[in-house]
């Protein structure tokens, strides 16, 4: 009997590390803030949310409201957005076999930006009552941009390079449109800039509820294809010789990842860095296999963004930093640290 092969798979220590990261981020996100609520009481109050459990946390009604109505939705939104962006980024990198691919590669950022700008400029976000139309406009813009990029890239010869170039062309065009609108509507400039820099602000559960179905679908599809993405790493030709249909697989995972990224962007604006840095840090620590990388991206991406949001709302409290500033400010040094200490070759 030959010795057992050391195959890459998600092993317990990595999974436990990811779950711990999420727990730490959630507890920190719920307890740290100007109201100064003790962690054990927060945890008891959280337990109360579970069916069939009733414990006395000793929190005042105001504090209860801060924990369950203000901080909890925000933490959940951070988890969902971070998880979706990191997983989408890892998927784009695998599908394009390109370490620099991020979820915004095919024009999602530019499309969402233009959509949001149009909505803000036309002021349709205000006075619309229950629905804020900015996320919807951003979502539509993002999906429209990816669709056009995909169709244009398909015409250009079906190679991944032509698809990326089409994405760049579409993004440039949409960015030009957006700049024109900005110039023509200088009064909306601050509002648009604030949207572009991203934030995990939520009033209640509408944003997390909006994102949740997309998160579930994206995660389900992408995780299901994690092994196929490992085969795609040897290139389309060899993957086809191994019996797969690389183009079909790429189309499916890109649709799923783009849908998730577009939904995340529509509720949180353009948060840079998460889609690139989190997957690469995971590769450096736990290895490159998508079987390991994709599930861990969900956990670490979510935890990372919750902690970034915590930083964004506490360092200049009561003012808030745009979260994109924090992801880059924390993420870049951390990544350099991992890069220096890891002995793995990832690309």
């Amino acid at each position: 009997m030959p010795t057992e092969l050391g195959v890459s798979r998600l092993r317990a220590p990595a999974l436990v590390a990811g779950i711990l990261a999420v727990i730490i981020a959630v507890v920190a996100g719920l307890t740290i803030g100007p109201a100064g609520i003790a962690a054990p009481r927060v945890l008891m109050e959280l337990a109360n949310l579970l069916p069939g459990i009733a414990v006395e946390s000793g929190l005042s009604d105001a504090h209860k409201a801060i924990v369950t109505d203000i901080r909890l939705p925000r933490v959940v939104l951070g988890l969902l957005v971070g998880a979706t962006l990191a997983m989408s980024g890892a998927t784009y990198q695998a599908a394009f076999r390109n370490p620099l691919a991020d979820p915004y590669l095919l024009g999602i950022a530019a499309g969402a930006g233009l959509g949001a700008t149009i909505a803000i400029v036309n002021d349709i976000g205000d006075g619309a009552g229950v629905f804020d139309l900015v996320p919807l406009a951003a979502f539509g813009g993002a999906l429209g941009a990816v669709t056009v990029a995909y169709l244009a890239g398909h015409i250009g010869g079906r190679s991944t390079a032509s698809l990326i170039l089409a994405g760049i062309a579409v993004a440039s065009f949409l960015a030009a449109c957006q700049t024109y609108l900005l110039q023509a509507n200088a009064d909306a400039f601050r509002q648009i800039l604030a949207w572009l820099l991203g934030r995990i602000a939520t009033s209640g559960w509408s944003e997390p509820a909006l994102l949740l179905p997309y998160f579930v679908v994206t995660t389900a599809v992408v995780l299901r294809y994690r092994r196929a993405l490992d085969v795609l790493a040897v290139g389309d030709e060899e993957a086809a010789a191994l019996g797969l249909e690389p183009r079909r697989i790429r189309l499916i995972v890109l649709i799923a990842a783009s849908l998730g990224a577009a939904a995340a962007v529509s509720v949180s604006g353009l948060i840079s860095f998460v889609g690139i840095i989190v997957p690469h840090a995971i590769r450096l620590i736990f290895g490159s296999s998508n079987r390991v990388l994709l599930p861990l991206s969900v956990l670490f991406g979510g935890a990372f963004l919750v902690l970034a949001d915590l930083t964004a709302r506490t360092v200049l409290s009561p003012a808030e930093l745009p979260i994109g500033v924090v992801t880059a400010f924390l993420g870049a040094p951390f990544f350099v640290f991992v890069l220096r200490t890891s002995r793995r070759e990832i690309w």
Binding site: P2, V7, V234, G243
Partner: protein, 277 residues
């Protein structure tokens, strides 16, 4: 008995250029045929057609079947490309196990049987202990054996090798081809290989086929095919062929005028050079 691979009037156009125009080639079970031919003759295209990677006219039948789905084909035909894509950071164990892909659903993980097959092949190819190393960290010879291991793990009866010795020094060239020969005998593999080195093509395998002008121009034993006249005609090369007990040795002669005259084929006066555009 049906041939392992049977190509009938195979036509392939790439970007409007006729690369293959009526290739007929039948390779029987357990046979090793080396395909030689000048650059651009379409040797790789021929292998890619057998793999179903290019559109073609004509018939390709694999173990008697002409209509094969991708995965079915991959269970019958394994491929070692000339320049395999080596994914950065992928471990040898993971890479070799990719060969099990056609044997299971793309959503399913590998079974313990898959891992045993891979471990067996690694042992056979002297790669024990390499499983947790990154493929790109291996030397050229180790890497070539790793790619071969992935193809063997596919457990296909037909093995296509595209210039398997290109990046290797002489010793490693011999190692790889000796290994293929031994495996062919152990497992009854059918081998179709493209080779640049004509002497190696004569040493290994049963038959040599010259692909030139989009067709199989010559096919037979090395002694029949690797003649001064054939090589002058199809490769536009001046060579001497030295008889050796193990097969013809092809030696290029210097291309000064006097040498060219000396090496001019005695029986190849009508040979048309440069017919391979």
């Amino acid at each position: 008995m049906t041939a392992a691979v049977d190509l009938q009037s195979l036509d392939v156009r790439l970007n409007g250029t006729h690369v293959l125009g009526g290739v007929n080639l039948a390779v029987s079970h357990g046979q090793w045929v080396n395909i030689i031919g000048p650059n651009g003759a379409g040797k790789t295209t021929l292998l890619r057609a057998v793999l179903g990677l290019v559109a073609y006219d004509g018939d390709i039948s694999i173990e008697g079947l002409t209509k094969l789905r991708r995965a079915e084909r991959a269970r019958k035909v394994a491929y070692v490309p000339q320049t395999p894509v080596i994914p950065r950071g992928m471990l040898v164990a993971d890479y070799v196990l990719l060969g099990r892909t056609p044997h299971r659903s793309i959503f399913a993980g590998e079974t313990s049987a898959d891992r045993e097959i891979a471990a067996d092949v690694l042992e056979r190819l002297d790669l024990v202990g390499f499983g947790d190393r990154a493929v790109q960290s291996l030397s050229g010879g180790e890497r070539q054996r790793t790619v071969l291991a992935r193809a063997l793990v596919q457990q296909a009866d037909i093995l296509l090798l595209d210039e398997p010795t290109t990046a290797l020094d002489l010793g490693h060239q011999q190692d790889v081809l000796d290994l293929v020969d031994a495996l062919r005998r152990e497992r009854g593999l059918t081998v179709i290989a493209t080779l640049h080195d004509l002497t190696l093509a004569a040493r290994y395998g049963d038959q040599v086929a010259i692909l030139a002008g989009g067709v199989i121009a010559q096919r037979g034993t090395p002694d029949e095919v690797l003649t001064v006249a054939n090589i002058a005609e199809h490769f536009d090369a001046q060579v001497r062929v030295i008889d050796d007990p193990e097969g013809p040795v092809i030696v290029p002669t210097a291309t000064t005028t006097s040498d060219a005259t000396k090496a001019a084929p005695a029986n190849g006066g009508t040979a048309q050079n440069g017919d391979h555009s």
